[in-house]
Symmetry: none
Amino acid sequence: MRDGSATREKINQAALELFARKGVAETTTRDIAGGAGIAEGTIYRHYKSKDELVRSLFLSLYSEQGELLAVQIRDESGIKEQIAVMIQLFCRLFDENRPLFTFLLLTQHGQLERVPDGIVTPVGVIREAITCAQAAGQIRKGDPDLLAAMVLGVVVQPAVFSVYGRLKQPYQDFSAELVQAAWGVLGLS
Amino acid sequence: MRDGSATREKINQAALELFARKGVAETTTRDIAGGAGIAEGTIYRHYKSKDELVRSLFLSLYSEQGELLAVQIRDESGIKEQIAVMIQLFCRLFDENRPLFTFLLLTQHGQLERVPDGIVTPVGVIREAITCAQAAGQIRKGDPDLLAAMVLGVVVQPAVFSVYGRLKQPYQDFSAELVQAAWGVLGLS
Amino acid sequence: MRDGSATREKINQAALELFARKGVAETTTRDIAGGAGIAEGTIYRHYKSKDELVRSLFLSLYSEQGELLAVQIRDESGIKEQIAVMIQLFCRLFDENRPLFTFLLLTQHGQLERVPDGIVTPVGVIREAITCAQAAGQIRKGDPDLLAAMVLGVVVQPAVFSVYGRLKQPYQDFSAELVQAAWGVLGLS
Amino acid sequence: MRDGSATREKINQAALELFARKGVAETTTRDIAGGAGIAEGTIYRHYKSKDELVRSLFLSLYSEQGELLAVQIRDESGIKEQIAVMIQLFCRLFDENRPLFTFLLLTQHGQLERVPDGIVTPVGVIREAITCAQAAGQIRKGDPDLLAAMVLGVVVQPAVFSVYGRLKQPYQDFSAELVQAAWGVLGLS
DNA sequence: GATGAATGAGCCTTCATTCAT
DNA sequence: CATGAATGAAGGCTCATTCAT
């Protein structure tokens, strides 16, 4: 990979780690260059601006998560199993890569507004599953956007608290409870 | 203006509104001064730094919300009613003062870490109610921090989507659904 | 002294002490007001500006020292005794009021340029004594300004080192040595 | 400009000249940038702060003078010649580069306190020469720090007056007189 | 005369971005 | 493609000074 894509990857890694640890505004391009072991100017061979780096990083990681979820539930037909499977996956990924989720969680503000259409997002996947389940009569009617948001909230808010040290165990420990609660939100069992 | 408390209030108002609209990092002290109709230096007679202004604003508003919730549930004895009452209050306040909640929601990251002990917070109030209900056998056992986080998530995540335009109705329209879902999280009916 | 001259004196005292300790540029009007136990605005009832305060303080103290020297040598006729007497006085005053001399020493730059004519200064007094002594044939000819500067240097430079901690004894301990050296400068014994 | 040492030198030159002419506190970073023909931010690629620029400039020039003196007297064995040679060198350098000495003279206050150990300073060199001479029995006993300070004073105080226009001739004109006086301080001839 | 909240010019410093090498 | 010195706009903050009370 002498074409520079290795460099790009180093930038992404360093940026992700720094953004998660210090926040986007508090991370300078010099920090990123230092973390990636490259010159400051080199960042601009790969991204037009710091802002584009942030957006690009967010979008690719955000949709990547969406796709992982989508793949995971493809073969499940019941909403209960789909919810369970998604939450279990989220818990595992979260424990395995905290910086990634920390970045996603604290960058969503200011990025969510500009998510382009046609991208697979975590909420989108949840929403889709809910809509199907409603069509199949598995769960009650109701605004699918709202239902998806609430299910997401059940999983994400404890994650935020975990990031900020209010919940100290591995996130997978909460897996069963989270599934139970998400079902409760949808009125299942 | 014998005492400067009116000026301080103008600063708070302008800062809140700007922080909510543009974000903290994107709001300059010049913006704030302009919005408040005062000189830039005047901010520093009331706050030692921009950072202190942000922290002070966050903490006072955050704990103020906590106290409103605490007062609201004081006379309710059942957890079901307490949850319902809290959510209804939140919905109303949210609709009445979006900038306030927008500020709180997007500033929590970077502020939550440094909330001092001994302050009444929204989560704290929910947690407290849950603990009591568990003691009274009204709901199942389980980590009260986790339960509180999940309940909070049910209410807050849709609010975030509302702020970013993904849910367009007045938040109070969702009130009943939110209550239902929160109950579901706790395994109530 | 209910006419405010007591206040003025408090300002002078506080300013002198602070200027000596931190330097003029590093001392704020707020510092001075704080040190004097008055309001910031009150300074401006007594001085038109901070700069005028500095100048006024310097000039009055500087010329006061000159006058003390002048009085001291009035009754001495020989240059040797005059030198001795002046140096002994300086040593005593220096030990008794370090802040004053510290202020004078580190403020001379930037103030010496604007000492008005017709003021009795320490150098002036020394210069006068030297001129008289030359007229009386007590010491060799030579530019009296230069001779005065050199004599002053002998006494002042060790004082500077004393202020900065390089000479640690009471300044009066050096009295005899200083006199000896000053005589040496003038070619006396 | 592959390396920035030329730029650093431009900064040093401009700063020195401005500090000497207007004083450190009265010289802004904008002034320096303007004088050096560079952007304001460029200063901060070479110095961490204005204060560090001042300190660095002072220390390098101060010790440079010390080293010039040290080199000059290396081959002289008698204290009389050493004193003479040092003073002649000082006079010549002073006439050749007034800004440098003006800067040194008016910045010593506030910098002398933080001269690190192990640096060759003008006073150090004089003190050393005096100590040797005492050991060799060439001059009388006495605190070498005090003697060095007095000798320095003889040379420096007239220089200060020269800077402030009280002595108007080239400083080299005073060379012989200064040597004579310095000898007198040490009790020589 | 004294107060102290308010002012606003201007300072030091940061940092995303450019460009010659 | 990579470098890193240089840029310069803009930000947070200080502080001498004013003025209504």
